[in-house]
Subunit: 382 residues, 4 copies
């Protein structure tokens, strides 16, 4: 009998935002069971979280090292297949390295690592161990993002000329990190977050989305970062010019002090033949504009879509899928790949972000910080 | 150790629309495991479906009778806790009755039964057996629908005066039932669907939503049904006047031949002090209008919400939840209730649609058909 | 030298809503000069209004009778060409009749008259005198309404099956007529407004828009009128079922107690091949839906329009035209016709609402009131 | 008797886009009569245009010099009061100078002049002659722009932190200037347009809108201009970073090759206490976001507006005003000022763009071009 994949989680104790998201996303398509976790570095807390998740105490560990060792020693029919790492940035590299080197596949949140050095080393470890590695750039899981990518790839837009991307949030408008809010606390702390603040947390999503949809690499950027929150040291705002490898130009606006914005990731791509627009807060529309035709609006499972979009639409048109479903698509594609590997089958073009996307994201953060320090001088990264 | 609930499914073989929806919805919150199913009346097909769902063959049954008998004979620690019935309308009553009478709780798709007689009998069986019964009027699971209901209940709108509700689809614009499309085939067949076509499939959702949000009962309706599809015998369109118990008036427009509409369920409620508007295709907004203030737009986990809305918002504002999440909320609230019952705890106001909503839906269908036959004469139901 | 047309106004003293609208609408396209007016039945007030409009005192009259007589006696090169009647409903018939019988063309606000009898007589007078008569069903002047009409006429939608129309306002939610508000005062007074309240004021617009766009006549209606405002005698709300001459069905919802609604006139028309949607508050979009193509959104002067829409778009796409411009199009088309008549030229299909539309509107009001009195019995009008 | 103002037009022959806009805008509020024009440098063509505008031949001139001289010699009761200059950029300065120096007030299209030198000189001439000078930055005439400005001025947003502004058009996506299209031809020609292409045509609107709403000056910019159209020499695209005098940061994206965009001017302003968003293509909404309240949407003549917005709303809420009405507000405020001056009255804070805004616009163009030439180095202007 075929069996579901077994997932162990690192981080994500009850009350965490992103741990819960990963669990729900992993559950939706019925391919993955959560079987164990190191939900906290406090063994008691880890068990408490595990209980609420209906796990037995003996699969709730007090550290990722303990979990990886213990699971490795379980019989093959019981032990976890992969780990999902949902800790703050500074706790990505070590568990990922240990898991990979002990034979476990990895799903990891973004940005991939705390530093560039870690990112480069992690890429090597993935290559060396041959294990699968997925990075949860979840927004690429939306059907309309797949449609957008397919339209560009098929030449519907012609040569790309201009890009506008923004990722605007307002939740750091006030100094919430001083109120003990956990999310804010580590994200504004360079020891836990790295050299980028908003850059790492949301900027990498914007960067990844641009390159994913257009199939083009950003060649250089000129960045003007803002640090508006009282006593903050990391950027909470960024205004960035883009130059793409093909000569296209653009702007990126990111912020966590854009008061009142909830999670406003949006992108516009203008080509010589057509243009497209997608907004995360209204993800089930892809607005397209044309030289000599009226505006056309595509919807998941709607008319006239490419296979790439149809493949990831779960329910009929008009039944909105959202954030969790797109996130689930990353897990689903990863699980599909992993099941194939497990069964000794091949799979063509597994479609989920990899360690290479993670390295790219770190390059983006570093280039932006460098440009900003040089008064927004154009700075290459590739 | 606390444990997840065990679900058995009746109907919903691989390829079915709504079975897959129920499975995903039941999975999202990690409280329910699918453990068995009678996915088809063909035992082989049932097993094949089960395999794709990672079930063992011995828990895949060729009939609901077989499943209920077999599961009843399993040890308490293994047998299913409840069944989820996702068959066409004519196959709701018998499995529900058998499950209830054999000690299993029930989740059932809508409309509840094929006939009014069945509905009334089922209500009695639920009362007699004391088992839990949830009807999946899934749209009531949306955070913004909860907010709407809470606003009315708290008197924010004042006395309700006017209601507009619509549920518009276009997928039966052409005679797709003649192409062998399964969904269309049974829904246009009175033997499988009952006396209502669009009335039962989507009209009951509209009726339920009106009463859920306003807390008012519809007193009487004047219905003009349409049968536009070639050779059809059941309504595929309806235009209905509403009179509410408190004197409010309104219109209901439902259709499955509203070409190009995807799943356009929408409601407007106008009171003496304020008004509200909600649209299923853009479910994460509740638009409210006021006598002397600007339009205010509420969002899940956004500012200034009632507890009822906050309680069912899973992720931060701006991360859209959709159809599956609202559906999941029905399962979650049902599961929460069932776990409490299992553990001998009480629960206040479990918030999910019950057998009474199911009876109400059947009354609506019958009243609409009767009014239509009498050239749209006002027809009471209550 | 060609010359502008000379307009005299009846009603519309400074401070009135609709008089000002007519003046601005008549001015926009530079074809019409306001030369005189009977702005008030008080000669002094009329002069005061005229002064603010830069008119000389001797062209400001204390009654329409005085104006028509005096203007008739002016030399041909000075006297007004037509009158614009912008008084409350009960003051439409007499001035229109007198103007027509004294050789003046007429623009008249809607509903056309106070009673059905007046409407029928006015139709005869127009026929007898051969003068031009325009009724300001202004919403038919929008480019996207013209496009909608052209699409239906060209068969793009196929046979029409379903119609939804609504005209929702909230300004009579409270008893503003008791505060001395002039607009509310006469509109809620049957002596000045006729037997219809909201029916006449906005219902006739909805009725006219349905027939204008679809090219179909409404065959019968079933109306449930509401009188919600304290001490009101005329309807301030209406819920109406529609049956069209071709078998299409639909709903009409009108209200002036739909709290918070500003001027929400909107229509959806569903055909066998395509569908369309237009909203007055966002008038520069026509949303169309198709069997096998994505949603297409048309815009004034945008791509792929019919001539009928292009002809009435004044400025490039993306430069929104609004209420006044659509209103101006009625005046422009009337003026174009009148100039042609003046110059002895012919004109094909002058496109503005006529006395026949006025009669049709009165029939609608009477049928709705009759149906409502008979507990929403289907009532024919044609 | 009070009298209307008399306007002479320079440029704007029949068929021109902006001449027609100016005429309609000047006509709407009934304060201005067009009495003469130098519509073309070809006297015959000028007369032909005049005839279509119902002007007598003797008031249609073959050059602006001829017009100014001739009108000056007319009796005071006949001669024009002011000129409206609607020619391409290179033909602004000379006619403005001549008009001012001969006692005529001036309305002038933007950008104000061909060169910076002209701008500075024109400012001096305006000061010296004491005549009124209005620059048609028409978008500042919208009620919701007035509301936005008033909200910032009243401190509703707190300190401004971030700005996003865009002005996107697609009409130069292809080389339309090679097809003989007049608008495109002069706008892409540096001899007629100046050193800025899109910068002058639309960038100055964006720059003006930012400073108008926020009441803050842009301190420096870093610009990356694009020249995408075949054989073009002037920018048709620009991506610009902004730093405001108060420390706020932002992005500006302008384009005339943003294929499919019609006239998408939009601005977002984020403060420490609230934020606002306005879009020209949907101008009758002002979306505002708050720390602890739901999103509020303001509308012209809607609830809770500042006087500044109410003052320029012509018709009741829900009756959309558009591009022409906002343009008309510039003329109306200019005319109100001019009538006051004429009558020897004072006026407080006349609200229309002046020669100073024109100088500011030229500074913006020059700074952007300079920054771009220096590989996007931060460049001050003030």
């Amino acid at each position: 009998m075929a069996r579901k994949l077994r997932m162990g989680m690192i981080g994500g104790g009850i009350g965490s935002f992103i741990g819960d998201v990963h669990r729900k996303a992993a559950a939706i398509d019925g391919m993955i069971n959560l079987v164990c976790g190191a939900f906290s570095s406090n063994a008691e807390k880890s068990k408490k979280s595990g209980q609420k998740l209906f796990l037995s105490d003996d699969r709730c560990y007090g550290s990722f090292e303990e979990m990886i060792t213990a699971e490795k020693n379980l019989p093959k029919g019981e032990r976890m297949d992969f780990v999902s790492i949902v800790t703050p940035n500074y706790m990505h590299f070590e568990p990922a390295k240990l898991a990979l080197e002990n034979g476990f596949h990895v799903v990891c949140d973004k940005p991939m690592t705390l530093t560039m050095e870690e990112a480069i080393e992690l890429e090597k470890i993935v290559e060396k161990t041959g294990k699968l590695f997925a990075l949860t750039h979840n927004y690429t899981g939306h059907p309309m993002v797949k449609q957008a990518k397919a339209m560009v790839a098929n030449g519907d837009l012609g040569k790309i000329r201009k890009i506008q991307v923004q990722y605007l949030q307002g939740w750091l408008s006030t100094a919430v990190e001083k109120t003990g809010q956990k999310q804010a606390s580590w994200r504004t702390n360079p020891k836990k977050s790295g050299i980028g603040g908003a850059l790492g947390d949301i900027g990498t999503h914007a960067e990844n989305l641009v390159e994913y949809i257009t199939g083009l690499r950003i060649k250089e950027i000129a960045a003007d970062l803002g640090v508006f929150g009282e006593d903050r040291v990391l950027d909470d705002d960024g205004n960035i010019l883009l130059r793409m490898e093909n000569g296209a130009k653009g702007t990126m606006s990111i912020s966590q002090i854009a008061l009142g914005e909830e999670n406003n990731l949006a992108i516009k791509v203008y080509g010589e033949k057509a243009s497209l627009e997608w907004q995360q807060e209204n993800p089930n529309q892809l607005i397209t504009r044309w030289l000599a035709q009226p505006v056309k609006v595509f919807t998941p499972n709607g008319n006239d879509l490419y296979e790439e979009a149809l493949n990831v639409s779960r329910i009929p048109a008009g039944h909105p899928e959202g954030y969790l479903e797109a996130f689930a698509t990353i897990y689903k594609n990863f699980a599909t790949h992993l099941m194939a590997v497990r069964d000794g089958r091949d799979i063509e073009n597994p479609d989920y972000p990899t360690v290479k996307d993670g390295v790219r994201g770190m390059q983006f953060i570093y280039a932006a910080v460098k440009s900003d320090k040089n008064n927004s001088t154009w700075t290459k990264f590739n």
